[in-house]
Each structure stands twice: as structure tokens, then as C-alpha cells.
Amino acid sequence: MRPLVICCSQRFKSELDEFVHFLEKRRVLVLPPNFKYIRRRIAKRLPHRRPKASGTKAEGLVLSHLKRIAQVGKMGGICLVFNPRSLNGQRKENGYIGKNTGGEIFGSAVLDVTVIMLKPNEEESYMALVSETDRKRIFTFQHPKGNPLDFDLVWENWLKGWLDG
């Protein structure tokens, strides 16, 4: 089975923790972003409403996560953008991608790491890099009525195929 690196906004920290636990129980080698030192209450705020100290903590996280992406790429793995929900002001069918996560999509693409996503996003450049034409790379394109937080469905009907393939 191929290893998996996850790129994700810290806003989804709670959901991500559950998802990583779910994958580890299925013996997936998964490398999530390190949100260990970020408090859930702070993580849920919009970036401009977070205290400055939380940004300072995050400084090195971006670099270390780029390293993880490169590592997983060398192992033949793939990158999952975990964006299960939209935010206020976003169209419901889209999933939120923060600016750093967007940067990580660029990083993955230039390192030749295949990027897949739970939901599409309105940012054209992200979609261009994930591939606008290859619809199977986006979970909700494959399963329009599927809930990206239904981990069993995501795993059995979509993600497992990518990791076994």
C-alpha cells in the first residue's frame, strides 16, 4: 500500500485527528501535518483572528511539511488535501483550502506527487494542478451525494483504490 501525506487547514484539526486514527487502524502509513501544539479553540478561528503567537509556532511547520511531502513522493505515495467542509461565504460544494495548504498543493505538484482532494475548490490554480479533467481525483465528483466525513465511504469507495493502485 502506498503511503499518504495529508495537507489540511488547522481548522479541521478535530476531524483530521479522527481520520488519521481511522487510517492507522487500517495500517496506512499516514503523515499528517503537525498540529499537536495548536489548541483546537485557536485552530477553528479564521487565520486573521488567530493570536500572533500561533503563527510563530506554525513557522517551521510549513517547511517540515514540505519535507514530508517530498519523503512520501520518494516512496511513491500520494498527497490528500483534506478539505471536507466549506466555510461561510464559500459555495457549499467546495471545500476550504487555506493559503498554506494551497502552497503545499503547488509543492506537491512540482515534486511530482499526485494530489487528490475530498472536495473541489474555487481557486482555479489549485484545480489546474490537481487536474480539472481527471475527475476521479476529487471524492465528491466521484460520489456527489457522499459525505467526505463518512470515513468508511471515503476509504472503501475512493481512497483505498488510490493507495492500492
Binding site: V62, L63, G102, F106, A109, V110, E124
Partner: protein, 153 residues
């Protein structure tokens, strides 16, 4: 041997970026050097189009259809092949594509310079917030064409 450089910038700074590149070209030619400079090619667009927000630009069908090609062109035909990436973050501002290009340059292990020390994201100019993690990817702040030229020669 002179190094090559790719500029990355939000297109709202088209005028200032053109001036910066023109200045470094003049300085280099005075010293007898020909620099290899790639820019994001913001030409051939309607007047003041570059001042719109990306959301508004996306209402232009032609622009929308060209975005994917431009992203690939800038990343793989420019950033990848040059020695240095220069992030033209005037007022500290980084748009979504510029952030992506910054991350791509970092992933490729490029030397990255930036115009300003601050790395601000969000809605330009009033809804900006500090994002220090992007700053970590920048090696040095180089504020003038003259200082950049010293590093390229």
C-alpha cells in the same frame, strides 16, 4: 557567470514590477551583463484588469480559460529552470498563486529573495493578516534592483 531569476508577483503590482525589472536590466547592461529574467507576463490584458481582485478577474472567460496554462508555464518553464526566485511582495502582500510559486520554489530548493520582510495574506489592501510561515521560506529580503543585481552577478 550571472544567475537567472524568475519574478513572482500578484498582477496588481504589474506597474511596479515592470519598473523594478526595467531598472535591474539597465543596471546590468551598464555593467556589461545580460541577465536572464523571467516575469509573469501580465501583458495583453484589458486596461486596469490587473487591479481587480482575482475573484472579479475570474468573470472574464478568456482569463479563466488561460489560468491553468499560465500556472504551468510559470512554474515549469520559468521557476524550475532559473537559479533564483524573487517574490515581489509589495506592501508584504502575497496572492494565492504567488504563495504557491513560493512553496514550489522552496520545494525545488531555489534561493528565494523577497522585496519586503512582511508576508501578508488575505484581502488586499484592508483585509490583510500576517502569515509568518511563508516568511520562513524566504532566504533574504532584497529591497532594491541594485541589491538584487549584486546577488546575481
Amino acid at each position: 557567470m550571472a544567475k537567472s531569476v524568475t519574478f513572482c508577483s500578484s498582477q496588481r503590482f504589474k506597474t511596479q514590477l515592470d519598473f523594478f525589472i526595467h531598472s535591474i536590466d539597465i543596471l546590468a547592461s551598464r555593467k556589461g551583463f545580460k541577465l536572464v529574467v523571467f516575469d509573469p507576463e501580465f501583458r495583453n490584458r484589458p486596461d486596469n484588469f490587473h487591479l481587480l481582485s482575482e475573484k472579479d478577474r475570474m468573470n472574464n472567460e478568456v482569463y479563466r480559460s488561460e489560468v491553468a496554462g499560465r500556472v504551468y508555464d510559470h512554474l515549469f518553464r520559468k521557476v524550475r529552470v532559473t537559479d533564483v526566485t524573487f517574490i515581489f511582495n509589495k506592501d508584504g502582500y502575497l496572492g494565492a498563486n504567488t504563495i504557491g510559486e513560493l512553496f514550489a520554489a522552496a520545494a525545488w530548493g531555489k534561493i528565494i529573495y523577497a522585496l519586503e520582510d512582511k508576508t501578508l495574506m488575505g484581502q488586499y489592501p484592508d483585509g490583510l493578516y500576517l502569515e509568518p510561515s511563508a516568511r520562513k521560506l524566504i532566504h533574504e529580503v532584497v529591497a532594491t534592483p541594485c541589491e538584487l543585481l549584486k546577488r546575481l552577478l
